[in-house]
């Protein structure tokens, strides 16, 4: 099967800006093209990952670089939009129809809770069942009940990620908080607190992808990063307590979307969680990181709360997680979040992450999970 590689990466910082989404997207795309050493005129196709932007946003952003006539398609799969778009790019190159493309993620979102009408039915909104953090919190509460996970363990994840963000100039928040500050921050939805959840915001990230053969022809100096796997799944029946569900089965035990996407990704990559050197995982709330690491097979179910406490997931730990500061620090511009994770992993695999650099990584995994049980897992190999 054709190997697909990442030739270039670009980003517009995540945060809140007066800049238009077109300008943010064009900046990230321009940086990725420059990083790859490729001209926009050479790009054969482009996908835009976005959720809250209007129709034809991809064309509106990228036509500013030149109307070259290539197909430009917007892709949406909630928090997994970036994974869905990257997967389509991989498939396009593997099909043999193309060997050089651009994947862009961009978003511009209002402050505060996300617009509930995007994913909830009117009756859920009327009744007040339209708070995304309520669903995250109910998962945390059940995990605490089943496994004895504690509020301190959840806070420790937030502590670690905020601490990592201090070294990431592209993060919205770059501020360390003490464990006490986190545990004393106001409850949003019990037991999850304000300093343990991420904010919707603005940002963009872009990747130039190519077949390995095309990359060799281009004769670029740096070693390209291989996409060892890119899987996207939508949760099976009742497999996920994620917004906007109205009920779930008490009888079935289908594997969750992260388990399913990870299973597919590990099979494609030919290696598993214990062989991966660094991770960027969905931490829209701090508990989500704990659950994600269990579902990815980094630890056994119920043991996730101990990882941050024991330093396993710190920058100098054996399996560093959310070196970038995670979504808790960066914010979650939904369409850009997964590609932002991939940007971080490529930076790490190139050894260019500065003070947040993990020791000599050769592989990395990015994970996103969101509405409807949309989940994507991408694995990179140096």
């Amino acid at each position: 099967m054709t190997d697909v590689v990442i030739l270039g990466i670009g980003i517009h910082p995540f945060g809140r800006f007066d800049t238009s989404y077109q300008a943010m997207g064009a900046q990230a795309a321009g940086h990725a093209l420059k990083d790859a050493g490729v001209d926009w005129q050479e790009i054969q196709f482009a996908y835009l990952s976005r959720m809250y932007l209007p129709a034809t946003s991809g064309a509106r952003i990228l036509k500013t670089l030149g109307c070259t006539g290539i197909p430009i398609v917007d892709i949406e799969a909630a928090c997994a939009s970036g994974g869905a778009a990257l997967r389509q790019a991989v498939l396009a190159i593997r099909s043999g129809e193309a060997d050089l493309g651009l994947v862009l993620g961009a978003e511009k979102m209002p402050r505060g809770f996300m617009d509930p009408s995007m994913i909830y039915s009117p009756w859920q909104i009327e009744m007040g069942l339209s708070l995304n953090p309520a669903y995250w919190s109910m998962r945390a509460r059940r995990h605490m009940y089943e496994y004895g996970t504690t509020e301190e363990q959840i806070a420790q994840v937030a502590y670690k990620n905020h601490k990592n963000s201090v070294h990431n100039p592209n993060s919205m928040y770059q501020k360390e908080f003490s464990l006490e500050e986190i545990l004393n921050s106001p409850l949003v939805c019990d037991p999850i607190r304000r300093l343990e959840i991420c904010a919707p915001n603005d940002g963009a990230a872009a990747l130039v992808v190519a077949s390995a053969a095309r990359a060799r022809q281009l004769g670029l100096s740096g070693k390209p990063i291989t996409i060892a796997a890119c899987a996207h799944t939508v949760a099976r029946y009742s497999a996920d307590l994620r917004c906007p569900i109205d009920s779930m089965s008490a009888r079935t035990s289908n594997p969750g979307p992260t388990e399913e996407a990870a299973r597919q990704a590990y099979a494609a990559a030919g290696f598993g969680a214990q062989d991966i050197d660094c991770f960027e995982v969905q931490d829209t709330d701090a508990f989500c990181e704990i659950e994600a690491l269990e579902s990815l097979g980094v630890c056994a179910p119920g043991d996730g709360g101990q990882l941050a406490m024991e330093g396993v997931t710190g920058i100098t730990g054996s399996q560093p997680v959310n070196m970038s500061g995670g979504l808790i620090s960066k914010g979650e511009p939904v369409g850009a979040s997964h590609l932002g994770q991939v940007f971080e992993l490529v930076t790490q695999l190139r050894g260019a992450a500065g003070p947040r650099q993990v020791a000599k990584p050769t592989s990395g995994l990015a994970h996103v999970l969101g509405a409807g049980g949309n989940c994507a897992v991408t694995i990179l190999k140096a």
Partner: protein, 151 residues
């Protein structure tokens, strides 16, 4: 349709189609609807044409029992976004998944003192009438920690 529960004399509307069994003019007598699949055995919430687990059309609608137990919960500390129509002024309220004997868990608001919320507590299905600003009556539901008498 003989009794009129709405202020304007009209039969109240249901907050969601297919959710209740019984006459909307007598909200206190309503039951929650479920759909049982004879192919896979799953029971899902509301009256639906196809089983959301296996897609089978071999389904039957049934009344779900009133009593359940709390499987997990949270407390909404902030006013939900958008067209929220809960009590004014806003007060923090419980949200949870209530497990029923039929083998499903229902997402619901919880009518219970917040300090009493705990996994495993018994709860009862409680339909109620709510009035919109224009006077229109709406039948909604919650789960309450104290069993109401049938009247």
């Amino acid at each position: 349709m003989s009794e009129n529960a709405g202020k304007g004399g009209a039969v109240p509307r249901t907050i969601r189609e297919g959710l209740f069994l019984g006459g909307l003019s007598q909200p206190e007598s309503l039951k929650l609807a479920g759909t049982r699949c004879s192919s896979c055995g799953e029971t899902s919430l509301g009256s639906v044409a196809l089983c959301p687990n296996c897609g089978s059309a071999q389904v039957e609608v049934l009344k779900l029992g009133d009593q359940g137990t709390l499987w997990t919960f949270t407390v909404a500390r902030h006013r939900p976004p958008g067209d929220y129509r809960g009590p004014e002024p806003f007060k923090p309220f419980g949200i949870g998944l209530v497990e029923l004997a039929e083998g499903l868990r229902v997402m619901s608001t919880l009518d219970c003192p917040l300090e009493q919320l705990r996994v495993g507590m018994p709860l009862w299905f409680t339909p109620y009438l709510r009035y919109d600003k224009d006077g229109g009556a709406v039948v909604a539901f919650t789960y309450r920690s104290i069993e109401e008498s049938a009247s």
